[in-house]
Amino acid sequence: MKEKFDRGTALTIFRNDRLEDIAALALSLVIAFLVYTFV
């Protein structure tokens, strides 16, 4: 399946796992900020 994508793998859209981890942290921080501001 890997050859179907020119970046990432069948398991992730990101170039590598590290980038996916950073995206998860960034997304979490954005959500935390929104909860802090609006709830």
């Binding site: 793998t9 992730t12 990101f14 979490s28």
Partner: protein, 542 residues
Amino acid sequence: MIYTKKTPWTLIIGIIMVAFGYLVQAGALDPLIEFLKIGKFVGKPGQPGEMIVLPFVCGLIAIVVGLWQYAVKPKEGNLDYYLSAVGGVMFILLIAFVVKWGLDPLMHAWGKAAETAMKDAKLTWAFDFAKVMNLNYVVMGILAGIIAVNVFKIPQWAENGVRLSRLGLKTGVVLLGVLYSWQELANLAGLSVVLIAVFVLGSVGMVLWMGARRNIPNSMGGVLSAGMGVCGVSAAVASAPVVNAKSTEIAYTIGTILLWGVLMMFIFPIVGKTMEMNPTQFGAWAGTGILNSAQVAGAALAFEPDGIETLKVAEIFNITRVLFLPIIVLWLAVWYVRREANGQRVDLGNAVFSKFPLFVLGFIVMFVLGSTGVFAPGAQLPGKYFDNSEKHLVKKDAEGNIKESKMLADKDAETLKVDADKVTDEKHKAALAGLIENKRATSFEHDADLRGLLNSHALSKKGNKILKKMHDAVYKPAPRISRFRDLIAWFFTFGLVGLGMQITMASIRQAGGQPLVIGSVVGTVKAVGALIVVWLFVKEIV
């Protein structure tokens, strides 16, 4: 490469979602909502619940992106690449909506109806099939994903969205960090380190020993031991360069872990419920006995779909296990070099650093942020906090008439008075008298004494029910923590439906042969061993 597919489906899904949100808001689906008993998801006037907010927000995003993909000729680049995932994300979410708000409550209702029908027919073995088979939204979401990929195939336009599901799971784990208090972490840390050390090191040793006896290559044994011992797929990948594993050996290991993990994800919650485990026991068992992070989360949520206490305990064990990765890589390096005299030397530090899952550090960042009290004071972190004020207990209408009261009702006070003679412990006696006199728990300590009385089972069944009601009455949901819990549950639901879509028959067939035999033996020993230890030594509810 252009990833955007010209499909009307993103737009159609968006329109379906918005229409659904509108119908719920307008009250057109009220009879169905009442039948399924899912009114709590609809919310109150002025405070729309998730069944209104999520379809509107997600639907509008899908409509905008769907129109953009139709109207604009995509150019190769990041915008085309990342926006092409939106259709798949909405496809997964639509399945998640159907499962969580439709199938889950429907199975619940049918299970109860079937049990009643069996009882009416005077069958001695009447049972609720939804309860026995643990058919909640988590289990059904994963099954829906497995069926979607293996029976119908994932449409091309949705493939990129499915590849985002692991991001959902990781975000769920990172966000979970906000909900721990120092006290909880301190309570769990010692237990998790001891249990994980014994079972991780034990299973790595056992795979290496069995591998040597069954004459599998050292590289295969090394990579399988890391996968079976630590945290599944990422551990197998991290240890591969250290033992010079071939890509087929990594594939065999991943296949074995996947097959084993999927089975355990369904079996663990059924066993846990049959044995009436508490959240701490089940979380400790699942976090120790199941191999892959996603499957640990799946089992914990399947065990307790309406709360995240089990998930919190399980994730601490899961993260402790991931933290053992450097130790295992070091062990395997020494083991491999000893066994293969001409084994190629690799840079250990680089192997560990480049593959260490950074989201674990993200979890710690969020925990530190949460523990500063920025989202909620420490007392509110469990999700509810003590509040016995009249404002919380008694709701009045605009004219000052009592609309709803959580204070002790007179008839309940009479039941407790009758039961009072059964209480022998002086502290419990005083607590009960205080409750009857004040009609509520007067302080946090008073409530703790009442809880002690409840746990002693000294009162009648009815009396205990009243005590539980009075305990629940003086706890108020913490708004920000409740919102975090809902969001975390949705991230996990999204991730787990997507995870189901990645469980293809082809990936399971990769297991086969010796790795599967060794993996099954070690996996069973680990699961049963962890169950025995947890059952015997873990009693506390954290």
